[in-house]
């Protein structure tokens, strides 16, 4: 199932794995906190033993659900991200529940970043950040591009600029 108004380009499929790893790490930290609280509850709560025994099981269920969500969601949200660079604009659509379609005119781009986190580096991916003089949209992020693709998009975006104030 693709989103109704998909643009021509999609993110690199490896971006899904990156998001899964990020999600798994977040889940691990969260369930560690939950595990500690469950353990404290198990040892100290003034409840009957059978009820206290429910706590570890509850922990397993909750953590399992979190992990399942963290592994499933990136694949869903990936399908809703698309982008396009044409003569005039950089356009990005994203969002599963809250959808948005952002258009940045190329003549308004001030400068660009290509940044790579450690996990992104492992998968040869990168995040492209486009800066404008706007306020809320002063920085527009597009993460999950293949590194060489991000560089190519950046070079393409920059080639247009230069003749005017560029803001």
């Amino acid at each position: 199932m693709a989103s109704p108004e998909a643009l021509s380009e999609r993110l690199d499929p490896r971006a899904i794995d990156v998001q899964r790893i990020v999600g798994a790490i977040t889940t691990a930290i969260l369930s560690l906190v939950l595990a500690i609280s469950a353990l404290i509850g198990f040892l100290t709560a003034p409840w009957p033993f059978a009820l206290r025994l429910m706590l570890p099981f509850a922990w397993i269920v909750v953590s399992g659900m979190l992990l399942a969500f963290a592994l499933w969601w990136p694949g869903v949200s990936w399908r809703y991200v698309s982008y396009q660079v044409d003569e005039i604009n950089l356009s990005i659509t994203r969002g599963v529940v809250w959808r948005s379609h952002t258009v940045v005119p190329r003549s308004r781009i001030q400068h660009t970043d290509v940044s790579r986190g450690p996990i992104e580096r492992m998968y040869e991916l990168a995040t492209l950040v486009v800066y404008t003089a706007g306020t809320e949209h002063a920085a527009v992020h597009l993460s999950g591009l293949a590194h060489d693709r991000a560089l190519a998009v950046r070079d393409r975006l920059l080639r247009a600029g230069g003749q005017d104030d560029g803001v």
């Binding site: 108004e5 005039i88 604009n89 356009s91 969002g95 529940v97 809250w98 959808r99 948005s100 379609h101 952002t102 258009v103 940045v104 005119p105 190329r106 003549s107 308004r108 404008t132 003089a133 706007g134 306020t135 809320e136 949209h137 527009v140 003749q163 005017d164 104030d165 560029g166 803001v167």
Partner: protein, 497 residues
């Protein structure tokens, strides 16, 4: 320094501030230390309080002198260069082409000496990029000519033929009174007076007396409703008084307000004691808002806020509060259109094709009201079951509000402008020229999707404290079409600040 002297320094020589800067620098220090200094003088049990005051005052005063000695500015061919600092030398280059606007502030003493404080703003946010304190008026005239001469109007945004400077708007006595009533800033004066009295006067004892009086009031025997009645009565009694104060303040601040246009440059001048001159090139207007509150409508006028890319507009908390009011604080109703024609010459509001919100918008707005009222009713029912009836009783009002809002709200993406009209009691008209758009976005929440609606968000460089212009509850198809139109049209125009 005379005009010819300044003009001779064409490319280059560093210049100092006006010598009276020294005076104002030390004056500023003295003012900051006034309260602690007096406190020491009056309350110190030590033998020589003057010594302590000097200990407090001297280092700052020396610093002010050093700052004056170290400060140099230079009007280069393309840029303004400012050097300051003694230990940490700082050299700031501001290209003329990047300066968004120049404000001048003159307090009475500065006017006597023929000097002023100049603030230059570039598009980098926050505070002014250069506060030059203080220069002779001649030097400022030279600087201003230098900065704005090199800025030709953007293609299609200004007339080719040079025009003579002419007044666009003058705010007379009556309009100043209206502004005073509308802005209702009497509380500011009261707060300031209380502050001063607290520092120096016998306010503590008055306050105690007042308290004793207060507890004898017969209304107080009625308990909480009595207290409420006292507060309401006090507010009603205070209103005319506060209005009078506010009018007084307006008469002082807006004294002799005039807005002039000299080619591309708009220049607003006002102030009785502290004289402020704001200069904004017309093509630097990023977004323009016409506001009309209920009071504005009763008195038949409006205010116009001009957002430029430099810093905020109309922010409070400025040491010179007077420097930070709307460029056009008040304009009579019948002068709004001619004024807009001067500010945005390519705008043709009459020819703009307005669109309504989505047909299902009123239903959705009313549902939101119902949800709010249900929560309110539920909360009130906790206090007393009968109070829950308030919610259904308010429902017709909510329906009226929804209908009025639907009728008042309109938008358009047409003729080179994004326009939005909105508000029932606080009406406003937002105008953004396509060529000033930075980013366009359409957004759909799950509710939007269920009703086939979308929001259109227009981000500019001058969105100020309000954030981007967001037009909500649009028909999804129309929003998509507008987005496509803006994406091709806005992107094609070259942006000049």
């Amino acid at each position: 320094m005379t005009v010819s002297d300044a003009a001779e320094n064409r490319d280059g020589e560093s210049q100092r501030l006006h010598p009276s800067s020294l005076l104002f620098g030390i004056g500023a220090v003295a003012r900051r230390l006034l309260v602690p200094g007096l406190a020491i003088l009056f309350f110190s049990r030590r033998q020589e309080p003057e010594v302590w005051v000097m200990v407090l005052f001297a280092p700052s005063a020396v610093l002010a002198v050093v700052r004056y000695w170290a400060y140099r500015y230079r009007l280069g061919a393309e840029e303004l260069v400012i050097q300051d600092g003694l230990l940490t030398r700082n050299e700031r280059h501001i290209p003329y082409a990047r300066i968004q606007n120049i404000d001048l502030v003159q307090n009475p003493l500065q006017r006597l000496l023929g000097v002023a404080e100049a603030r230059l703003e570039t598009a980098a946010g926050g505070k002014p990029e250069a506060v030059i304190r203080v220069l002779s008026l001649e030097a400022i005239a030279v600087m201003r000519a230098r900065i704005f001469v090199g800025q030709p109007p953007a293609p299609g945004e200004g007339e080719a033929a040079p025009e003579r400077p002419h007044a666009i708007l003058e705010v007379g006595f009556l309009d100043q009174v209206r502004y005073g009533v509308i802005s209702n800033r009497g509380m500011v004066v009261v707060a300031a007076a209380i502050g001063v009295a607290w520092q120096f006067g016998p306010l503590g004892s008055w306050f105690e007396a007042l308290q004793r009086q207060f507890f004898d009031l017969p209304l107080l025997r009625w308990g909480a409703p009595g207290v409420l009645a006292i507060i309401v009565l006090a507010l009603i009694a205070a209103t005319p008084f506060l209005w009078l104060l506010s009018i007084g303040l307006a008469l002082v601040r807006l004294h002799g307000y005039s807005l002039r246009r000299d080619g591309e440059n708009l220049r607003a001048e006002y102030g009785l004691f502290t004289r402020v001159t704001k200069t904004v090139p017309r093509h630097r207007i990023q977004r323009l808002v016409v506001r009309q509150s209920v009071m504005h409508r009763i008195l038949g006028c409006a205010s116009v806020v001009v957002d430029t890319a430099g810093g905020g507009s109309g922010e409070e908390g400025d040491p010179h509060g007077a420097a930070r009011i709307e460029v056009v604080p008040i304009v009579p109703k019948d002068r709004i259109e001619p004024l807009l024609a001067e500010l945005l010459p390519d705008l043709d509001l009459g020819a703009v094709a307005w669109s309504e919100l989505a047909p299902r918008a009123p239903r959705r707005m009313f549902r939101q009201w119902i949800a709010v009222l249900a929560v309110l009713g539920g909360a009130l029912a906790f206090a007393h079951p009968a109070l829950a009836l308030v919610a259904p009783l308010l429902a017709p009002l909510a329906w009226l509000e929804t209908r009025a809002r639907m009728k008042r709200t309109a938008w358009s993406v047409d003729k080179g402008y994004v326009c939005r009209r909105s508000g029932i009691f606080w009406r406003r008209l937002d105008l953004v020229r396509w060529s000033k758009i930075q980013v366009v976005q359409s957004r759909e929440s799950p509710f939007d999707r269920r009703h086939r609606m979308a929001s259109l968000v227009i981000d500019t460089a001058g969105a100020g404290a309000e954030g981007p212009l967001s037009i909500d509850l649009l028909d999804a198809g129309q929003a998509r079409q507008a987005l496509g139109q803006l994406a091709t049209e806005a992107g094609r125009t070259a942006f000049r600040w």
